[in-house]
């Protein structure tokens, strides 16, 4: 770990520098937020703003440390990434979030299911979406009807359980 190849030492790690900047931004936001808190330390002398301040200074210190580590190339090699599958899963979660209260649990979650399967190589959405919806509906039926968990219902759930 300590013995780096010379070329690596020269190469600056841009991504790590971005992380350092991100940490500094979080610290800045915390300091800004704690500055507007009323000082209600009362008898303890440690008010609501004190701990956020300490944490913010800690983050600033870590940000500086990260800069040094980035310049020295101390960060481990990153595994090469295949971006599209990652985006498919994120899209699936986003779709579920947006559809949940409109289309109900089964349809929204069925789409998440299909998109995740897509990310791992099952490309036929025409097959996986219905499959996902059926599976999600079965799960919905068990947990909301039998075990009384409160899960959002949509047109599909209304149709089957009202019609029956």
């Amino acid at each position: 770990m300590s013995v780096n190849e010379p070329q690596k030492q020269r190469r600056r790690d841009t991504a790590a520098l971005v992380i350092a900047a991100g940490l500094a931004v979080v610290a800045g936001v915390m300091l800004w937020d704690s500055a507007r808190l009323a000082d209600l330390g009362g008898y303890s002398g440690v008010g609501p703003a004190s701990v956020p301040r300490v944490v913010a200074y800690g983050l600033l210190g870590l940000s500086v440390w990260t800069v040094f580590a980035a310049l020295k190339g101390d960060f481990p090699e990153r595994p090469e990434q295949n971006v599209p599958p990652v985006l498919w899963i994120i899209a699936g979660l986003a779709a579920q979030l947006l559809l949940l209260h409109v289309a109900g649990f089964s349809i929204a979650t069925g789409i998440l299911f299909a998109f995740t399967a897509r990310a791992f190589g099952k490309r036929n959405l025409a097959m996986t979406i219905p499959l996902g919806i059926v599976f999600a509906f079965a799960v919905w039926a068990v947990f909301s009807q039998l075990l009384m968990l409160h899960l959002p219902a949509g047109p599909l759930e209304h149709l089957i359980f009202r019609g029956a």
Binding site: V46, N82, L147
Partner: protein, 505 residues
């Protein structure tokens, strides 16, 4: 010996076939709901309590005990197999347990968790039965300063989960501490870091964060890997059952976990997580195979799981002896007891011995029933890992979101799940450990509140923090745990412990 007679009488009632069936139903229902990531024992018991209302008191009590233990245990199964902790007390289990499952040792991991839970549950329930009144006296000595010292000790133990870089471990921890500041400050009611967003007022839900970081971050990371076979999950390699060496390496952690978890669970502000952290750090220090930690060490599953279950029984100590509900689960149990006309409090053991001992007997039976249900299921559970990856991960995300939606069906909560999932992915990408950020989120507010309470009571005098012998001792142990590795490293002996050294730069 009155206590013993009462216990035998209770056991005799609880061992009737009908009662055993109720216990089985309770354990099954509790496991089924508790297994959902994001749904902890509190919500499980709250959801299923009405089911028990239909039975007579004895049957109701035993089914209730089954649900409680089932809900506690359910979380560890998903932690181990799918790296999705169901609640904060099983986060540590995921660390080593999931690594074991990936190497094809899911069977032994589940077995050591199940047997460890049983052993811990058995010992802790007996301790509860015979020592509760004296334990609670000790627990009440713990005031804010003693809790603060305990939290400091727990913080030191986080470094055991730092991995190979102090910088990245500390960064992860501090991000957790920063997130912990979000929400209303308990002591003054001031809104911190919530930027006028009402959903942030209550802070960041630990279970949402844990599910996002572990389950979703992991799914994204695996999906993004170019070299898929690198991370091939092996379903079963070798026996599903524990080998002789697994037993040899498990029994001491079970016992140590029990004796760490039980007293901390019995403390009114202890919390089940703290015991699991301390147990993990202890096992890592004492293990003959410290190099295996982080890669699937069985001790790291056995100890924390035992601690988790022992603290569940520990929670009942203040509840039964003082009527103090010290956790959300305990508060619901209190509500459950009241339907039997059982008013927990200092006089309970004297005024209502039949019901108390009936409850304790029920807990013992439910605990055994859990083992009976789960050991044969292990073979089935590990088969889950042979499910092809697309369906496995699609299912993981389905259940991970189901848990979050079931606990709180708001779009905001799902948005946080997505956001933290992406953060977990990025952190994995850059080699940041995941556990410290979650631990920081859990411990941060506890430590802060206890410190400020201690100082308010002393009117700003910091020296009170070391004036009580218990607090001073705990802080001393914490200091030693930090300094000794530093000295060892200075002498060049502490390669393995090197990561501890950078802790307090």
């Amino acid at each position: 010996m009155g206590a013993f007679d009462f216990l035998m009488q209770g056991l005799a009632t609880a061992a009737e076939p009908m009662m055993l069936l109720y216990a089985l139903i309770g354990v099954t229902l509790g496991t089924a709901v508790g297994v959902l990531p994001g749904i902890g024992p509190a919500l499980t018991v709250a959801l299923l309590l009405p089911v028990t209302y239909r039975l007579d008191p004895a049957g109701s009590l035993i089914m209730f005990a089954g649900i409680y233990y089932g809900g506690m245990y359910g979380g560890s199964t998903t932690s181990i197999l799918l790296n999705t902790p169901g609640e904060s007390a099983s986060i540590i289990t995921a660390l080593e347990g999931n690594k074991m499952a990936r190497k094809g040792r899911g069977g032994p991991a589940l077995a050591t968790a199940a047997i460890g839970s049983f052993v811990a549950g058995l010992i802790a329930t007996l301790l509860l039965a015979f020592l509760a009144p004296s334990i609670v006296k000790v627990a009440l000595v713990f005031g804010p300063r003693e809790y603060f010292a305990l939290m400091v000790l727990a913080f030191v133990t986080v470094s055991a989960a730092f991995g190979d870089s102090a910088l990245r471990g500390l960064t992860s921890l501090f991000l957790g501490l920063a997130l912990a500041c979000v929400g209303i400050d308990q002591l003054t009611g001031q809104a911190r870091m919530s930027f006028g967003v009402p959903e942030l007022l209550d802070g960041i839900e630990v279970t949402t964060m844990a599910v996002a970081m572990f389950a979703i971050g992991e799914a994204l990371f695996i999906a993004g890997q170019k070299n898929q076979q690198d991370d091939e999950v092996t379903a079963v390699k070798g026996s599903v059952w524990m080998s002789r060496s697994d037993w040899a390496r498990s029994w001491k952690p079970w016992l140590r976990g029990t004796f760490l978890g039980f007293p901390i669970g019995a403390m009114p502000a202890g919390g089940a997580e703290i015991g699991t952290f301390l147990s993990y750090a202890t096992e890592k220090k004492l293990s003959k195979h410290p190099e295996e930690f982080g890669h699937g060490a069985i001790e790291g599953v056995a100890g924390p799981e035992a601690a988790n279950n022992a603290s569940a029984a520990g929670t009942l100590v203040p509840l039964l002896t003082l009527g103090l509900p010290t956790s959300a689960t305990a508060a619901i149990m209190l509500a459950g007891f009241q339907q039997f006309g059982l008013q927990p409090g200092p006089l309970l053991f004297a005024t209502n011995p039949t019901l108390v001992w009936g409850l304790i007997a029920s807990l013992l039976i439910a605990n055994a029933m859990l083992l009976v249900l789960n050991l044969p299921l292990i073979g089935l559970w590990v088969k889950l890992l042979t499910v092809p990856k697309p369906w496995l991960y699609a299912g993981i995300l389905l259940f991970a979101t189901l848990g979050t939606i079931g606990a709180n069906p708001s779009s905001f909560e799902l948005g946080m799940l997505l956001g933290f999932g992406v953060l977990g992915y990025v952190m994995r990408l850059f080699g940041y450990p995941i556990a410290p950020i979650v631990v920081g989120l859990i411990l941060g507010p506890m430590a802060e509140q206890q410190l400020r309470r201690a100082l308010a009571i002393s009117q700003g005098d910091w020296t009170v923090l070391v004036q009580s012998p218990i607090a001073a001792t705990l802080l001393g142990i914490a200091a030693l745990a930090l300094i000794v590795p530093l000295i060892l490293r200075a002498r060049g002996k502490g390669q393995v412990l090197a990561q501890l050294g950078g802790d307090e730069d």
